[in-house]
Symmetry: none
Amino acid sequence: MRAEIIAVGSELLLGQITNTNAKFISALLADNGIDVHYQTVVGDNPQRLENAIRIAEDRADLIIFSGGLGPTKDDLTKETIAKHIGAELISNEHALQSIQAYFERTGREMTENNKKQALVLSGSTVLENRFGMAPGMAAKANDKTYILLPGPPHEMEPMFRNEAIPFLQHAIGSQDIIVSKVVKFYGIGEAELEHRVQKLLEAQTNPTIAPLASKDAVTLRLTAKANTADAAQQLIEPVLAELYSQVGQYIYGTDEDTLSSKAASLLTEMRLTISAAESLTAGLFTALLGDEPGISSSLKGGMIVYTREAKVNQLGIDEKLLDEHGVVSSECAEALAEKVRERFQTDIGIGLTGAAGPDQHDGAAAGTVWIGVAKNGHSKSFQLRLSGSRNSNRLRAANYALYYLIRDLESNSI
Amino acid sequence: MRAEIIAVGSELLLGQITNTNAKFISALLADNGIDVHYQTVVGDNPQRLENAIRIAEDRADLIIFSGGLGPTKDDLTKETIAKHIGAELISNEHALQSIQAYFERTGREMTENNKKQALVLSGSTVLENRFGMAPGMAAKANDKTYILLPGPPHEMEPMFRNEAIPFLQHAIGSQDIIVSKVVKFYGIGEAELEHRVQKLLEAQTNPTIAPLASKDAVTLRLTAKANTADAAQQLIEPVLAELYSQVGQYIYGTDEDTLSSKAASLLTEMRLTISAAESLTAGLFTALLGDEPGISSSLKGGMIVYTREAKVNQLGIDEKLLDEHGVVSSECAEALAEKVRERFQTDIGIGLTGAAGPDQHDGAAAGTVWIGVAKNGHSKSFQLRLSGSRNSNRLRAANYALYYLIRDLESNSI
């Protein structure tokens, strides 16, 4: 099965947004053994969209559209496809009710143009939108399969993964079972990781191992094909074990784990409570932990002590310590961790201090960060020397604090 | 002049990387008045690339390629174009010297395949690569213009901006100056905004007005063309004034403004200090403000009081107030704002409390949020009813707090 992805939206052609949808859709299709031969972007223009559809039909069996399902007059994807394949647009009762419920729930007035979002192609399978209003669709005509997805990634991604992929698996009647395992690393660069596991990367064909670098983390995706899920799983396991043996200290989780979800699940499983005192990160560490549902049994709270004055007056950091070692120091990081732990009476206290940049701070070069971890009167600290922009340094500092927390919880060293 | 961008690389079709090059190139073309009608992505496959070139020639005058200029056997862009337009590939002395110098400088050995990078299309204008080895090219054939750029963004972006754009400006002999103004909205949906300014949107041709919805904000881009920048600016101004008059309460800024940068610049200009007490957002509001360089003169810090216990013990919220009104209440939000303001001795205090979801919290439905704003003994509060996921609700709560803060700072009402 050959696929083409057509993203619809003039904002893409104007360079106002990046086409992240094509990447997301392509990666999931690759996992499912469907080859993408072309990705196309076209504006909110029905003639040009129809030309793109004709061209795609010449070179693909499966055409996946994203964007243009919304309520405005620019949103013309389903109208154009309906005309092209000779389908009607009919109102979908379930979708209409969802839209009405959305407006009632948010107390806003539903304008007439929002009803347009409930129109679907006659004869299509409706794909439910759990994070927005416009439903998706899967339609077949002239031996081609057309999948229509909304443009906003937070609506499109769960719909594609949870609704469109099962539809496609059924449609291709695949006998191969594909099992993937994503292994997630922190604290190591892509080049260094590839260098360290080079032999493993080169030797593998089933599972394949595909590296994937994002701005601040490295991921390896293991993908195995077999007749059964168990058999595919069994192909993955020895390779996974080898990865843990070679570079396990950088692995913080797998699959859907994030640094914050992993830290949160370890904390709640181990019934440990935590608080944090943050300077350069100004609440980011605690906010990341707060992302996780159920964290309130572990996360008691924290102090944001952005200024020296706040560190001394609000948290009781000794002025002499700051005079002697500076605000950006292991001593300050550990004192922040200890003081916040005492104050919130938690098992663990985290302290974050540093020079986010662009300027030096209290004598420390931009990018210098100290992370303190305190438990039961013991404390230790970790230094980072980061070289990014102010905000990438702040985010990395918070992420490294999660990473050190995970590593230590897993080794029971704190 | 109609343009098409063709990005070449199988890693794009496999979903391993995002096509950020298309966004970058499109945005600069838009600023220079060149319309992009299509963006295409094709793999490292000469037949499919040639098909893409034929299609692009039918619908564009200018075809811009990125990727496939490197030393490996997969890199086939210039070979395919040379064959297609009937040009030779000749070694460029200047490029070859640069490549040799690069290897000498880095002390690595230059392998034979690296010489391939110095081959350029005969008759083309060579675009210098200051951040890598493969030169770019600009060629004309059959009334079409072909621009070849390297794939890595850190090589492509400066080459396109500094070498290809001047080439194109000269080629089109443009007299038009293009001026854009981006107007940024919060607290209003795309559909409602378009509904309210529909007449203005329909009446405008110069400047054009293009709506753009992102995950959590709406933006209008006004673009005017004229003989001089001043004349273009003068076309924009009355339209901008009309927007402020019709929907000004939702406009928080323009161009590069973000909610946090706007709030930070108002706070620092007005020499006001701020602190925040956060429950559901767990530090996110303060972390967003902390994004802004120079905020330390205004942002003193904050308390993260995630649990009821922390609200009472750490911040001194009256237990009777919580018993009577609940944790998710205007009373609690205002008390949080007042208590944190007193404690950090700041001009403004912000309090955030709510039920992030997925479950109800202390009797309040998921998505219910109260934002308290306190100043000099006066306080007020705002209610939100959000319907997103847990984390989109938390982010929206923090963003709405910034929005209300901006609105009140601008109207001097606090």
